[in-house]
Assembly symmetry: C2
Homo-oligomer: 405 residues x 2
């Protein structure tokens, strides 16, 4: 592996063999950028560290709760802080359609708007374009689409995408990429990846506030290792603020996803964070961290909660289950969240079956606590060494096989 950032950061090989003093990787060269990232410990390719953003630090590996419309459904900023959240994710596309990025800008930016004073990352809308690809028209200029919400025709381009995210004033903005279906022919993937690169150049050229809003390049290349490597190297050469691994978690087998992460990571600079978009289950997160990923987002803990699926140390549990009717235990015996401290499974089941909005609120609080506890344990396991990481993996593996139902 040859790092295009070798003058600024140690090679991945060097990292894998020793613990690091906290100063070794401080990214002084990044002081003019929105982000700086300091690796604090490594264990093989896995690293724990601290990402500094204009709105404070993020302990990594980190999980971002999904707050698409400028709210993590049912949670206040106070709740999020209380359960150990450092950074949240919102969606540029959705906030553009409603209430509009200019309106949020006039109201003081997204942080002020949603009352969250910590770091925010916005997804660009690339995935929304992907998920509505049947009705959208993709051209070299960008994507023309009709938002279901208001029926208006809009054009999303790399330039508009950067404009939106800078107006929102987020700490981390995603480049506008083309996210295609899986499976896809090599030729289609190659052409799409090239377009993503051209769009990235347009994103870079469109930036007006690079010191306030970082731009993440997104590595594409489908499941073709050579395309992934080439794209990662291409992006690394652009010295992006940070890197995302995109186009995965779209239905491909789990092994293929992890294989692509393994293929991609060595070609990304060590001194920048790596974000694996849309992943995933606890085991996916542990496996990706082990391969060198720093940042995650996923709707699983929040969306599952709204559907009555609870994450506990004993496995997944459906709160609607008749078996819980008289169960006076907390959701999770290992959890110290407000929900587990205060309420029985029987009561939470009653709330859920009665369609009470307190149910999704309390289950979301719990599921997010479960995820943030996993991240805290990963942060501790990395400096503790390979055995600690292995233990976490064994636990996550056996967790996937268990189901309280």
């Amino acid at each position: 592996m040859s790092s295009p950032q070798s003058s600024k950061a140690l090679s991945s090989k060097a990292l894998s063999s020793k613990a690091l003093s906290s100063k070794a990787l401080s990214s002084k060269a990044l002081s003019s950028k929105a982000l700086s990232f300091q690796v604090q410990a490594t264990c093989g390719p896995a690293r724990s560290g601290r990402l500094m953003t204009p709105h404070g630090p993020v302990r990594t590996p980190a999980f971002m709760p999904v707050g698409t419309y400028g709210t993590v459904k049912g949670m206040t900023p106070e709740d999020l802080r209380g359960l150990g959240t450092d950074i949240v994710l919102a969606n540029a596309y959705h906030l553009w359609v409603r209430p509009g990025h200019r309106q949020i800008e006039e109201l003081g930016g997204l942080h002020t708007f949603m009352g969250w004073d910590g770091p925010i990352l916005t997804d660009s809308g690339g995935y929304q374009v992907f998920s509505m690809r049947d009705v959208n028209k993709v051209t070299e200029l960008g994507v023309r689409f009709r938002a279901p919400l208001d029926g208006l025709h809009r054009m999303l381009t790399p330039e508009i995408c950067v404009e939106i995210q800078e107006a929102l004033g987020v700490d981390l903005a995603m480049a506008f990429d083309e996210c295609i279906e899986w499976p896809a022919e090599r030729d289609r993937v190659a052409r799409s990846t090239e377009r993503t690169t051209r769009w990235l150049h347009r994103c870079l050229a469109a930036r007006r506030r690079p010191e306030r809003t970082a731009l993440l390049g997104i590595v594409q290349g489908g499941l073709y290792p050579d395309l992934r490597v080439a794209h990662a190297q291409e992006l690394a050469a652009l010295d992006m603020d940070a890197y995302a691994i995109g186009g995965l978690s779209v239905g491909e087998p789990r092994d293929e996803l992890l294989g692509m992460v393994e293929t991609t990571i060595p070609h990304l600079p060590v001194g920048r964070i790596r974000y694996l978009m849309g992943v995933g289950f606890p085991l996916d997160i542990v496996d990706a961290v082990t391969r060198g990923v720093d940042l995650f987002d996923c709707v699983l803990p929040t969306r599952s909660a709204r559907f009555g699926q609870v994450f506990t140390v004993l496995g997944r549990m459906n709160i609607k289950h008749a078996r819980l009717r008289d169960d006076r235990r907390p959701l999770d015996p290992a959890c110290a969240c407000y929900t587990c401290r205060s309420f029985s499974r029987a009561y939470l089941r009653h709330l859920f079956l009665s369609n009470e909005i307190l149910a999704p609120r309390l289950l979301t609080l719990h599921n997010l606590t479960f995820y943030q506890r996993l991240m805290a344990r990963l942060q501790d396991a990395i400096p503790a060494g390979p055995a600690a990481l292995d233990d976490l993996r064994v636990e996550a593996q056996s967790w996937m096989e268990r189901n309280e139902d």
Copy 2:
């Protein structure tokens, strides 16, 4: 007025003319009962005081947030305490249908079930019977009905009603009464009131835990003053733990409601609390307190919140209003609740229009804070004297005429 409780309590006349020492009305004679009530100050018929229950004190005049299914929609017990709630209301009928009173009893009672360690009052189901009167069959035995939830036929009787509420272990249980429509002929009201009395005797006979669960008698009599007076006297002679004024707030003119309160109150013992069921707007509460009512419940602050209606010192406000699109002010400049401390009207409007569950949560928190602040001000105004109460009335009156929309 002649009080049937004259040996235990001062007459209303005596109360109206002077402030009381805190010992003057301590209800030692009630020590074997679930409740004791101490009037701490009076101002005309208005009184402020402290109701002692098996689950702690209630400062009066008090407002009970409505938590029909064992949850004040969207609020945790922690939220409720934080905004100054002393007591909550739940519904025996609804909890009987789901999840069942025996199940709640086995889980440790309603307090444990819902995680609320303060006092609870349950409505009996009389009003539910009333609101479904077209499909229910009312006989002397009780009411036979089919619950929409499960389609099962059930029979609600005074005995079952007491059994349910004692199994729930609530502090204050309502007698099972017949609540009829307005307007109604005098003869129909008279017959119904007599049935309510017979049912009350059956409720009294059915009690098994009077030291743990107080029973409130409900004064009926429609809008016929002589029927009201007679029924109040009849109930007072039974030395109930506390008294409710029922059968009002069912569509009759406001003046008629207040007239009935004025007619009824002098015939209730001074040393027991008086609860005006289902009332109301701030002005209704001020007017009823002025006439000697101590306890209130109403869905207005909670239900309005879910429909986007906000209570502010400047009047009622519809959060959906386009005018609020760019409004960076808090909902209510005079409010110190978490919602007002943390979020703009523009953001709350965005949440509401996006169908985010954080919206009803935050608006409910605010509206309940508005109501509890009103109650706290009433508690302070009564010892302060007539001018303070008048000021509150003028404010509430002018509030009713204002509308931020």
